[in-house]
């Protein structure tokens, strides 16, 4: 189905869809292609034919509390997208699929495991000169039934992270080296969102998220290349529990995806509280 992806040696190649596959199946009734970006204008400016838009702020996050939508919210979202429990959802987006992986991760909290990410995202689709349209598709509304959100297998909270750190568990900080070192409080070109302290969680290994991708087309590196980075250079073990974090959990969901599905790490969770929480917590240990 995805010959190039099958040859890259991933533990779960079925979670990736090639641009060829998406071009062929984007309008299949059982497939819903979902674009998720940081720039909310990007989908409207042109998207994969048949694709719908999911905005990470307004669609996936609770609008009052810092948390994700509830079961009811997810049911409303999926019903609006015309999806059923059997629909294969395929995410793609800008910034080398940051937000696509983030949306994929949130969907896993609701058990929608029939999900994929289009390898290479928008950048590959555009570089291949594939068609983009401004036509917003209208799919018949469904009555999607979701289970209660189950955070535990995929999501780490601050208490989990503290215990994990104290027991010497594997932590991966995917932010820039400057953020890791505490010399910078936020991403280059991004505002400081209010972390009062800089640095990293003690014991965390610095592996910026972008190391997982091929910069020329946004695709994920092969399993052998990923293994070289994460397992050999950084000495992570696929058999040990791992927690990834960044600033709000979006970049780290990209690394979560790579570790869990491409390298087959058995227990990996994303700490979405990330540095905007840890850097403000009173009394927690910080390393610089």
């Amino acid at each position: 189905m995805n010959p190039n992806i099958e040859q890259k040696g991933y533990a779960h190649p079925e979670v990736l869809a090639s641009t060829d596959w998406v071009a062929e199946h984007s309008r299949d009734p059982g497939v819903r292609v979902i674009e998720s970006n940081e720039d909310t204008l990007l989908y409207a400016s042109g998207h994969v034919p048949g694709a719908v838009h999911v905005d990470w702020t307004s669609d996936l996050n609770d609008q009052v509390r810092r948390d994700y939508i509830t079961r009811e919210g997810f049911e409303q979202l999926m019903s609006r997208l015309g999806a059923t429990a059997d629909t294969t959802v395929v995410f793609y987006g800008d910034k080398n699929n940051w937000w696509a992986c983030y949306a994929f991760w949130v969907f896993q909290l609701f058990g929608h495991t029939n999900a994929r990410v289009m390898d290479g995202g928008r950048v590959k689709w555009e570089k291949e000169n594939r068609p983009l349209t401004r036509e917003v598709p209208a799919y018949a509304r469904t009555e999607y039934k979701a289970p209660e959100r189950t955070d535990q297998p995929h999501r780490a909270f601050r208490g989990d992270v503290l215990k994990h750190m104290q027991s010497g568990g594997q932590l991966v900080d995917v932010r820039s080296p400057e953020e890791f070192a505490g010399t910078r409080m936020h991403m280059p070109d991004y505002p400081n969102e209010g972390a009062l302290r800089g640095g990293h969680i003690p014991g965390a290994k610095s592996i910026p998220w972008a190391r997982a991708i091929n910069p020329e087309d946004g695709t994920f590196k092969s399993a052998a290349e990923l293994r070289q980075i994460y397992c050999e250079e950084k000495r992570l073990s696929a058999g040990d529990a791992t927690i990834t974090y960044c600033r709000i959990g979006e970049r780290s969901s990209h690394t979560w995806f790579a570790l869990k599905y491409l390298l087959g790490f058995g227990d990996v969770r994303n700490y979405d509280g990330s540095w905007t929480e840890w850097g403000n917590l009173v009394g927690v240990p910080i390393e610089r």
């Binding site: 940081e38 720039d39 909310t40 204008l41 400016s45 307004s58 928008r122 991403m187 070109d189």
Partner: protein, 147 residues
Amino acid sequence: MAADYPRSLQSVLDTFELFPDPADRTNLLLGYADQFREVPPEVATRPFDKSHQVPQCESDAYVWAMKMPDGTLKLHFAVENPSGVSAKALATILERSLSGLPADQIAQIDPSIVERIFRQNLSMGKGMGLMSMVEAVRALARRGLGT
């Protein structure tokens, strides 16, 4: 108290106020992005001089301000990131509404116009880059004033 904007810019802001519906505002912004005109070759060619690059803008935007014989400024922009739709929209708005004004007026434009224009289309990183575009225009205008 409402800021006192040049009439041309106030007109743009008023137009956005007429469209409370997010979808309408998105289309309005897209319309501006579609009309984006890159800096003409007689002003600048690639590789662009880094001194004209807007700091902290992910869309890799550049801005130039040419002093016209009547003492007003003419703005030009380039946006190198093909996904920089918002940057192109703002560049078009700034180029159209501020070109032809004297430098002292341009130097006083409040970067918060970005929030009024983009509203729900303003994401965390993008907001900073777009406000930096306004700041870069202000800086050029101040330079035009000799300050």
